[in-house]
Amino acid sequence: MKYLAFATGLFAATTAVAETPVLTIYTYDSFVSDWGPGPAVEKAFEEVCDCDLQFVGAGDGAALLGRLKLEGARTEADVVLGLDTNLTAAAAATGLFAQSPVSAEYALPVAWNDPLFVPYDWGYFAFVQNADLENAPADFKALADSDLKIVIQDPRSSTPGLGLLMWVKAAYGDEAPAIWAGLSDNIVTVTKGWSEAYGLFLEGEADMVLSYTTSPAYHLIAEEDASKTAAPFTEGHYLQIEVAGKIAGTDQPELADQFLQFMVTDAFQSVIPTTNWMYPAVTPETGLPEGFETLIQPEKALMVPPADADTIRDAALAEWLEALTQ
């Protein structure tokens, strides 16, 4: 009898679950972590969607795209959240993504007219330093001429690392190899990911670390520590825009559309600044959190057109390897 009761319970439970539609979103790991935007976003969306939102974490942005390519059309994902403008062309080429239903008043430094992907946050790459650093460089050439030490991430394993590669390429074009050659004696080391690099910087292994202009906001807001700043570079700063897209083969097309619409509303956007430590793609009605006004405002936003990202990336990586393995 016990078993029968158990079996009935199980059956009841599965039908109960089946009645609630499930929206599966693939994203990067730091989004779903307890300190990322995931938990708050899930709660806010489930309040309005009458559904069960399930996040699946997969490494970082590039790993996310890799997983999608492995799964192909069989993917369980309804929405993929966490690709960036360096990956959107390759993602679009998989043919897995559907047209986006969203139009919004974006607060992006560039016009947005990608038909597939919806941006949810953005930021500028920058070198972060201690505010009291003397002779902080104003551009890459000054940095290369200085004896300041920097720690960066490997473009082959890290999103910011790739961002720096594109930054130098976008700013200097054919001169990029010379810039890297000049920087080679400033680079203390190259790490696998952002966490290692930032950890080394905080341990005092380097004067500057490659991160985002928004990183000092974490120290200021969460730790009331104003000792970190980002260095404004006159060449301009490379822009990273993070996006989400709907999978064309989804079995929950309405829910997926609803989520993408929800993504550009205040309920989602107001979570971003102090969890993902990026700028929201649509500025919430309440504005940015106090402290964000202290961040540097780059005069120029650099970005290679997403369609060219792949070719430029391959050339830039070859130059980078060449310059740093001399």
Partner: protein
Amino acid sequence: MIRSGPGYAAAGFVLLFIFGPLIMVFVKAGGGVLPGPGDWAAIRFSITQATLSALFSTVLAIPVARALARRQFRGRGVLITLLGAPFILPVIVAVLGLLAVFGRSGALNSLLIWIGVPPVQIYGLHGVVLAHVFFNLPLATRILLQAWQQIPAERFRLAASLNLSAGQIARQLEFPMLRAAAPGAFVVIFALCLSSFTVALTLGGGPKATTVELAIYQAFRFDFDLGRAAMLAVIQTLLVGIVALFALKYSHGEGFGAGLDRVVTRWDAQSTLLRLNDALILIFAALFLLLPLTMVVINGIAGWSRMPAQVYSALWVSVTIALLSTALTLALALPLALTALRRGWIEVIGLFGIVSSPLVLGTGLFLIVHPFADPARLAFAVTGLVNALMALPFTLRVLIPSLRASEQNYGRLADSLGLTGWTRLRLLLLPRARRALGFAAGLTAAMSMGDLGVITLFADPSHATLPLQMYRLMGAFRMEAAAGAGLVLLMSSLGLFWILDKGGRGDVDA
């Protein structure tokens, strides 16, 4: 005798689990792609750093193991356990600890600047080797120490009654023992270092320190070239296979015969000079291994109060996986080790686990599993199994010599008594392998605790392991809290190791 069937079954399982996914990746890629020039540079660098790391770790471990083998002092057991700690730390925790001592603004350079000597630069090939020695010196020491302890006390008594000097004992007893044991330690460490990625890149100071695993990353993430990634994984596996076969060929020893398991007394090593020598060696080794650990502890205590509750739930996930891995490893290692007594080459199969690229292995497993099941649901099982395979080489390296000694010394007696199969295992082999089993179980559990669960394709976001949770804290700027979690990890890994290892050393003073 013990039948070989279970050993072959275990070997088949390991091969299937490692090469099945690899073949799957080749199938998906539609064939292999030959590595490019950059990949060959990565292969060369991997071999260079792994050879140097394994060589230094093994050679430096000899005096340390000898000092530990011939000295009895208070706290010796604790010291042996603590010296093992670097081996089980998650890479990033250990790297930060090392840099706190040897880094640009580390303790060593502060001292050098204070006494007016120019600071030293840790980043480069020497830094990679230093870090790998830091990780693996403890392992080499334990493997050699175990070999030392297999020389029966009676041999040293005989040597003493013949009035042999320490140097003569080294020639007659210790050198033959080392010839049998050191190549095995070398191979295991070579295999470990060959697939190093984070340590090699971070301490290598840049893309010059590109290893095969990083080349695999590039092929996979950057070019989505699965054929090249899988090809590199095959090359890595072949390299270890070749080195292992060579080492095994040269590592046969004669054995020292049986003893009465008395405590070893070393009359030869009582001179003041030798005492001083051993004391200095132990002090240097302890400083080298324990200073970075002390930094981990100091930072951990500072971050302790900022640790969120999630750290503790992650701790239980990790402990569960660690115990699962330990059980699995022993279940695979014991039959493999028993078969290896007659078929030495079978140990090489055990080594493949450590060199199979986690990225390629994970991708292949994912391709196998995905059509049938949600990979996240298998996160526990897959993580446990992969950790078990990773630990297999050490477990075998520790178990085989111990079982071989029992068979050499008591095998004929057991034969004449008609002890076979399970009875022989229960009455002779297992009791005599107790120390090795305890140590191997402790190592596996501790290693599994520290593993990041590299296979992100099987990640289950709601059941993060402790290292993953620590990494997430770092990724969310919470470096102090992450340091606290690192300390929890260090203590729990050491605790597990100590309990299991102690279980095996119950008879140490009998």
